[in-house]
């Protein structure tokens, strides 16, 4: 749903109950806003009622969809099904097939809640757009230097817009042309360019792997998988080198670029070092309690760049079992041979019990969601919410990606640290 809305002028059409859209949007986007060109109350929805659960809802969906095409000014319509439609067994493919001559592309995806969570849903939607919309279309030739970037999940990642922009900026710095399908003024034109890219760049530990593999299979585009988006100088310089070398960017261009960024970055670190190093309420140990993408990116920054030591990292995004081993391995590959223990769990209570019983050798730094706020207070620790449920902070275009993103993350962590004295 929010993945479709993340594509400018993309329109989710729900075959679901009346409350699914608003509930998910308010719950996930929280205080960060879920409106835009369209918003959850603009989504066409069959508002499944008792009648449809008894007699089936295909005709209800058919009229909703065909009228949606007349009422809503959108570029691509994506039919998403809720639990009831799936339990009743409505044949969505058939409804959509009957509308194949519609003026706008229509794609459909089965997304019942009992089959998976929102991250899997995100991947299903992107893959369905590739399969049903892009594959049948004639495609142009590969454009040198054009790079599709995948990773940030719209709305679910409070920093998605800012992160996307910063990843684009870094790519532009390398003299490449980024292509992302999400965010303002990108939209269908960028979707259309996906098959023409020279490379698919995935910045995520597991989510999106099926997408870049699908793109390789369908369009022959190779992919580069970097498991975490880069935060801070060390990780961002590594990122620029890796992508640059992969695409043959001249090192005479690359090295001065990195030099310039690092000089600026360490100017700030140097001038603020007293604050970082001399305070009474910050210890060396931290835990993240969040999705795999944020946990890995933030851990790499805090360990490889900022000199902290990882306690257990808790991954709460229901990482599929097939990916858990490889994700856990990334946490054993920090600099200086440092390793972190990883727990995959969606049981917040048990995670909190575990943190309570662990020794952080001083006040812990807990980076997670608002669910960890009270826990951090109870442990006299430091706290930062970076993932949903986010709350109590407003993010517009801020980002934790790149050199600037590292500085921003330190600003946010130390804004909390500075509130306290003991």
């Amino acid at each position: 749903m929010q993945t479709v809305q993340g594509i400018h002028r993309g329109v989710p059409v729900l075959h679901a109950g009346p409350g699914c859209a608003a509930k998910l949007a308010i719950g996930i986007a929280g205080s960060n806003g879920d409106s835009g060109y369209i918003s959850p109350h603009v989504y066409p929805c069959s508002n499944v009622s008792e009648t449809e659960t008894v007699f089936g809802g295909e005709s209800k969906l058919e009229e909703t969809l065909s009228n949606a095409l007349k009422v809503i000014d959108g570029d691509i319509f994506v039919v998403l099904t809720g639990c009831t439609a799936e339990l009743v067994g409505d044949d969505i493919a058939n409804v959509v097939r009957n509308l194949k001559d519609a003026a706008k592309p229509v794609v459909f995806v089965a997304t019942p809640g009992f089959k998976g969570n929102n991250l899997e849903g995100h991947e299903w939607v992107v893959n369905a757009i590739i399969e049903q919309y892009l594959v049948p279309k004639p495609r142009g030739s590969v454009q040198k230097g054009l790079v599709n970037i995948w990773g940030p999940v719209p709305s679910y990642d409070p920093f998605w817009i800012g992160n996307i922009r910063e990843l684009e900026n870094l790519t532009i710095d390398l003299g490449l042309e980024p292509n992302m399908i999400f965010g303002e003024q990108r939209g269908i034109a960028n979707v259309d360019r996906v098959p023409n890219a020279e490379l698919n760049l995935l910045l995520s530990p597991w989510l999106g792997l099926s997408t870049v593999k699908l793109l390789e299979e369908r369009f022959g585009t190779p992919f580069l998988h970097i498991p975490a988006y880069p935060i801070g100088a060390q990780e961002t310089s590594k990122f620029l080198r890796e992508v640059g070398q992969h695409l043959g960017v001249d090192s005479r261009k690359l090295n001065p670029l990195i030099e310039r960024h690092e000089t600026e970055y360490y100017y700030h670190i140097e001038r603020t070092s007293d604050v970082f190093l001399e305070n009474r309420t910050m210890s060396r140990r931290f835990s993240t309690v969040t999705n795999a993408a944020d946990a890995l990116a933030i851990s790499r920054f805090l360990v490889n760049d900022f000199g902290l030591v990882p306690a257990t990292q808790y991954i709460t995004d229901a990482t599929p079992i097939a990916h858990q081993q490889s994700v856990a391995r990334y946490f054993r590959q920090f600099e200086y041979g440092i390793e972190a223990e990883v727990q995959f769990s969606t049981d917040g209570y048990k995670i909190h019990e575990d943190i309570r019983s662990a020794d952080y050798f001083g006040p812990p730094l807990i980076i997670g969601s608002i669910f960890e706020k009270k826990l951090a207070e109870e442990l006299s620790g430091n706290f930062l919410a970076v993932s949903v449920p986010f709350k109590e902070r407003l993010v517009l275009s801020s980002s934790y990606v790149g050199y600037r993103g590292g500085l921003r993350l330190l600003e946010d962590i130390y804004t909390y640290v500075l509130r306290k004295f003991n």
Binding site: V11, I28, G113, F371
Partner: protein
């Protein structure tokens, strides 16, 4: 008539003759309501609105020491993320310990939809009790639990016995009703049938049914002069306080839509008088509300004293603003409870209502009477304004606003305010249920209206930069273009 013997509350379509589709005028709707010939329209195009589950479990999750166990797939329980950390912030504001409150989910998966999952539900309820020690547990239904026919009532009955605390099913399956307010009824049905106990002794407490209780300080001070104490329900109350709602001396509500089931349920079952009045928005509402209470308490003189002091203090200031607001044309888009009460308050300020878009319409409340705020407009409104019942349908609202071009729009629901501003119409959202409370509230409201129509910068700037997501074809149609004859539903 409320029947607490049923395992679930009847939905409003069947119980109150409520509808979600109508387009006409105030007096036309009044006439149809009176003669019983009111049939709601369905739509052959609709947009996502809201569901009863979010309402039911949303309000219940603000009980200080209760647990919600949502028998649903994980996405449905996203309400847990919605209420976190609002309930913590609210508890902290009024210094309550809500550490026993929690919202958990049984995380129903595909095999559960085939084999059922009541065993897992039992385990989750037991584990929830063990971990958080809540004093009551509400088992929330979902579309999935409803379609596959999970017997929540039996599970709740067994576990009430086993755990020794109220465990109540909340029948808020999203497909059961188009009226999300039915979710309030489902929540109150659970409270009335599982938590409230027969009275042992009468107290001097007045139940005030509201959402979050922002006016608690003013109301507490005002009620002290009537020798009673308000209990704001159901947010921030404990299970124990709720169990004694039957001992209260009266019940008031700040929203007729919200209050009908609990207010009338307490009156019918335990004889607690439910003050059936206008809601306390603006002057007429505030006066009738407080006088209604005064009458129940036999404190008419004290009430008149409060009212005359408030009037003296604020009326001259309100009058000064009235002359500046007179002649403004307004559209109100809210649920019926707040809508008709807000419309009346606007008329008190001399503002013309050109249209009221109510998200649903209750033909009657649970006492069988037409809602007081609607009746008041029928007999007092200076004009017969346009009235539609539009289920939060954004396409209808945008179409209507584009046609009516009012000077100002009033909203109350998430995601509805900005659409007027995108059309260049200043809008004011009344999120706080006490935003127009009494004389002081009306004064604030009047000043806020003047502020939004005076400084149009955000409205004008936004309008210049945005494009509406609707086709030109749609904006040329009538708002009720997609209305079709409805099937009469029985709940």
């Amino acid at each position: 008539m409320i029947n607490l013997q049923r395992k679930e509350s009847q939905v409003r379509e069947g119980r109150l003759g409520s509808i979600t589709g109508y387009c006409g005028t105030l007096h036309d709707l009044g006439k149809r309501t009176g003669c019983g010939g009111l049939a709601g329209k369905e739509r052959c195009f609709s947009q996502a609105s809201l569901c009863n589950a979010a309402c039911a479990l949303g309000v219940l999750s603000f009980i200080t020491d209760a647990a919600i166990v949502h028998h649903a797939p994980t996405g449905c329980a996203v309400t847990a993320m919605q209420v976190a950390n609002a309930k913590d912030q609210l508890a902290a504001t009024i210094k309550l310990d809500n550490s026993k409150s929690c919202y958990v989910c049984t995380d129903m998966n595909e095999s559960d939809t085939v084999f059922g999952a009541t065993d897992n539900l039992r385990d989750v309820v037991r584990e929830t009790r063990r971990r958080y020690q809540p004093n009551s547990i509400f088992i929330g239904a979902s579309c999935v639990s409803g379609v596959i026919g999970e017997d929540l009532a039996s599970v709740a009955r067994e576990l009430t016995h086993e755990l020794g605390i109220p465990v109540a099913p909340v029948h808020c399956e999203g497909f059961r009703t188009k009226i999300w307010a039915s979710g309030f009824d489902a929540a109150f049905h659970a409270i009335l049938s599982a938590v409230v106990k027969p009275p042992i002794k009468k107290s001097n407490v007045v139940n005030v049914i509201n959402f979050f209780g922002s006016a608690r300080r003013e109301i507490t001070a005002m009620f002290a002069r009537l020798d009673v104490e308000p209990l704001f329900v159901i947010s921030n109350t404990t299970t124990e306080q709720l169990s004694r709602l039957s001992e209260s001396v009266a019940t008031l509500s700040t929203c007729g839509t919200l209050g009908t089931y609990l207010g009338h349920g307490l009156q019918q079952t335990y004889g607690v008088p439910y003050v059936r009045s206008l809601q306390p928005h603006g002057i007429a509402g505030f006066e009738e509300w407080l006088r209604g209470l005064g009458q129940v308490l036999g404190k008419q003189a004290q009430v008149e004293d409060i009212l005359s002091k408030e009037r003296k203090k604020y009326w001259p200031q309100i009058e000064r603003l009235q002359s500046k607001l007179k002649g403004l044309r307004a559209v109100v888009g809210m649920g019926p409870g707040f809508n008709f009460n807000t419309a009346r308050a606007l008329q008190e300020l001399g503002i013309e209502i050109v249209h009221a878009a109510a998200w649903h319409f209750d033909k009657q409340y649970d006492d069988g009477h037409i809602p007081a705020a609607f009746e008041y407009l029928l007999s007092h409104s200076p004009n017969d304004f346009g009235l539609s019942v539009s289920d939060l349908q954004n396409h209808e609202l945008v179409n209507l606003l584009a046609t009516e071009k009012p000077d100002v729009f009033f909203s109350r629901h998430v995601g509805s305010t900005v659409w007027a501003m995108k059309l260049g119409i200043p809008a004011l959202c009344l999120y706080d249920e006490y935003a127009i409370f009494g004389y002081r509230g009306l004064y604030n409201f009047a000043q806020s209206i003047l502020d939004v129509v005076t400084n149009r910068s955000l409205t004008d700037n936004l309008k210049k930069r945005v494009k509406l997501p609707y086709t030109e074809w749609w904006l040329e149609q009538r708002p009720n273009h997609f209305a079709v004859q409805g099937n009469s539903k029985v709940g």
